[in-house]
């Protein structure tokens, strides 16, 4: 149902991909860890290799849990599908786009 308005109601999205240039937003959720209330949101380059993303972006955040063990990270999922995590390939190449949601277990 369209917004009822007195004029043509057409506005751009506040977080459209172009506003982030070569970067994008990615959400990461640690499944089953209730120490964190929600998934985290990061701004990262689309070209960032997945391994670097995990080591430099995800690990420092997950380390808020003193029991976090980077070696135990497994079962990556992109939205609801299993993700063939590959440290060398970029987020973009792995199909991880703007505002994608990743899950992992540990």
């Amino acid at each position: 149902m369209p917004v009822k308005a007195l004029y043509e109601y057409e506005f751009p999205s506040a977080d459209r991909a172009e506003l982030f240039g070569d970067d994008q937003l990615v959400y990461v959720h640690w499944d089953g860890n209730p120490l964190f209330c929600s998934a985290a949101c990061f701004r990262v380059p689309q070209a960032m290799p997945f391994g670097e993303f995990v080591a430099q972006i995800v690990a420092p955040w997950a380390g808020s849990d003193p029991d976090f063990d980077p070696a135990a990270v497994r079962d990556w999922r992109l939205f609801d599908e299993p993700l063939a995590a590959d440290d060398i390939r970029s987020l973009h190449d792995l199909g991880i786009g703007h505002k994608a949601l990743l899950h992992f277990s540990a």
Binding site: P2, K4, Y9, F11, P60, W61, A100
Partner: protein, 511 residues
């Protein structure tokens, strides 16, 4: 010399009211009705007889101001005596004030927003009676904003977090929850605003949104806020009556209004209910002397009074209980725990402090939530307590994923699986949007072109609009000063409180 004639007896109230309100209305002669009232047709609501609006209060301007002045006089007398007698030292604990910080940052600016928008309705509704009712409510809301500021400012010189609430309301992440809700209502048409604020907010959920702060005040020794509550009470019951009158009037005017209004009830119940999640967290976790649990309040004020009392009446008009009300009922055992978890994770970026519940408080929570607390939430708090005993304190070292509609971090779980976060995804114009629940997803997909514009605090930080890339940059831009935020234990408020209540207290220093 002529003798002055004796004064005529005053007119009866009803006649006086008619002359002073409806009788002052006039028909436009040199512009059309559509030009004078340009906003009352595009929403599709049909009104055939504006005089069908009955006014339960029959207030006139002079009577209105007389009553309000009396109420103000009584309130300010309490405030004076509280200030002179160092009344703040008689609170249950300084941590209680976290609830009041949330109130002045989150609720008081809504009173002001309501004042503005009811002034607009007082100009643009077509009937003189609803215009006058909107005028009174507009002035009420302004009075509430002012008296709340004066009431709560008593605490500002002794405690953190009270100093920049207006700026914070426009900028800080958790305050975007109430702010965006009101922006949503104010950018809708006049009839949708009536259903959103007068009906859903002031009638359906007022006992869950507003009253818990006032009863919390009375249980925790906060005389000023409690007196404010009394001072606002008769206004609030007038606002509730306006909400009910508005919906019944619109439903009676034309059958075609029914589905439009049902859609607004479905939307605004969920929007206001989601915002009340912040109140749920406050009720169950921020009050040193709790009043009643969120669950109990929800059952009493919403399930019994609204679903049991109001909606059977509205069924006569063809109105059904709000869509997604079942989800709200299903999560009543979880809501407050999940919301306080958010605040506890992120209070380093808030203008209040949080704390892991004490063992005594934990026992109270267990007694209130026998089916969920010990099973699901206490084990996590116990873990926090162990980490804190070892000198740590878990904060979320990053920014959360937010719901596109309610703007609360995506912390709510599936109604049938409390271990799984409820992620909802929609695609619109090639972009992905995330919502926290069936209700918020439904609201989004109903008007996506509105919600894609949401000013989500997390994404705005990442776009560089919030003072800079680091946490201190953002906190400075938020107006949060060191000590306003973080953990309550060891905070400046906790230290001052302990000092003032030591056996040889030094005089309370002003901040």
């Amino acid at each position: 010399m002529t003798q002055a004639m004796p004064r005529k007896r005053k007119l009866p109230l009803k006649e006086r009211y008619a002359l002073l309100t409806r009788d002052l209305d006039w028909q436009p002669s040199y512009v059309g009705k559509e030009q004078l009232y340009p906003y009352t047709s595009y929403e599709g609501i049909k009104v055939h007889d504006w005089d069908g609006w009955s006014d339960p209060f029959r207030l006139t301007v002079d009577a209105y101001y007389k009553y309000q002045a009396e109420k103000d006089k009584r309130l300010y007398a309490v405030l004076d005596s509280f200030a002179q007698s160092q009344g703040h030292l008689a609170l249950s604990d300084a941590s209680y004030l976290n609830a009041i910080k949330l109130f002045i940052q989150g609720v008081t600016p809504l009173e002001y927003a309501a004042h503005r928008h009811f002034a607009y309705l007082a100009r643009y509704l077509e009937g003189p009676a609803p215009r006058f009712a909107a005028l009174c409510q507009s002035v009420d809301e302004l009075r509430h904003a002012q008296t709340q500021i004066h009431t709560i400012s008593n605490y500002n010189k002794y405690y953190g977090g009270f100093h920049s609430w207006s700026k914070m309301h426009d900028r800080v992440w958790y305050l975007s929850v109430p702010k965006s809700l009101f922006d949503d209502a104010m950018s809708a048409g006049p009839f949708e605003f009536l259903i959103s604020i007068s009906f859903s907010f002031e009638y359906l959920l007022t006992n869950l949104l507003f009253v818990p702060f006032m009863s919390g005040a009375s249980f925790n020794g906060d005389m000023p806020t409690m007196s404010f509550g009394f001072s606002a009470q008769s206004d609030e019951s007038r606002h509730m009556t306006l909400g009910l009158e508005a919906i019944k009037f619109l439903l009676e005017q034309d059958e075609a209004n029914v589905p439009i209004i049902q859609g607004w009830i479905d939307k605004w119940f969920w929007r206001a209910y989601r915002m009340s999640a912040l109140v749920a967290g406050m009720m169950d976790y921020m009050l040193p002397k709790p009043v009643m649990s969120w669950k109990e309040a929800f059952e009493l004020y919403f399930e019994d009074q609204m679903l049991g009392g109001l909606f059977p009446d509205l069924d006569f008009y063809g109105i059904k209980p709000p869509r997604h009300v079942g989800d709200a009922i299903a999560e009543k055992d979880h809501l407050s725990h999940q919301v306080y978890k958010i605040l506890h994770n992120f209070s380093f970026a808030a203008a209040f402090t949080t704390s892991t519940p004490t063992e005594e408080h934990s026992r109270w929570l267990a007694s209130q939530y026998p089916d969920t607390y010990q099973q699901l939430y206490q084990p996590v708090w116990d873990r926090h307590r162990r980490i804190e005993a070892a000198g740590g304190r878990v904060f979320f070292q990053g920014l959360p994923q937010l719901c596109q509609v309610c703007q609360i971090p995506m912390a709510f779980t599936e109604t049938d699986d409390p271990a799984r976060i409820s992620f909802r995804r929609s695609d619109y114009r090639g972009e992905t949007f995330h919502t926290c629940s069936n209700g918020c997803q439904w609201v989004f997909e109903r008007e996506p072109e509105k919600y894609v514009q949401a000013w989500l605090p997390v994404h705005q930080i990442y776009q560089g609009h919030c003072g800079g890339p680091t946490v201190p940059d953002v906190l400075a831009w938020y107006g949060i000063q060191d000590g306003d935020n973080g953990e309550y234990q060891g905070s400046p408020d906790a230290r001052s409180w302990a000092d003032w209540h030591a056996s040889n207290p030094s005089p309370a220093p002003e901040r």
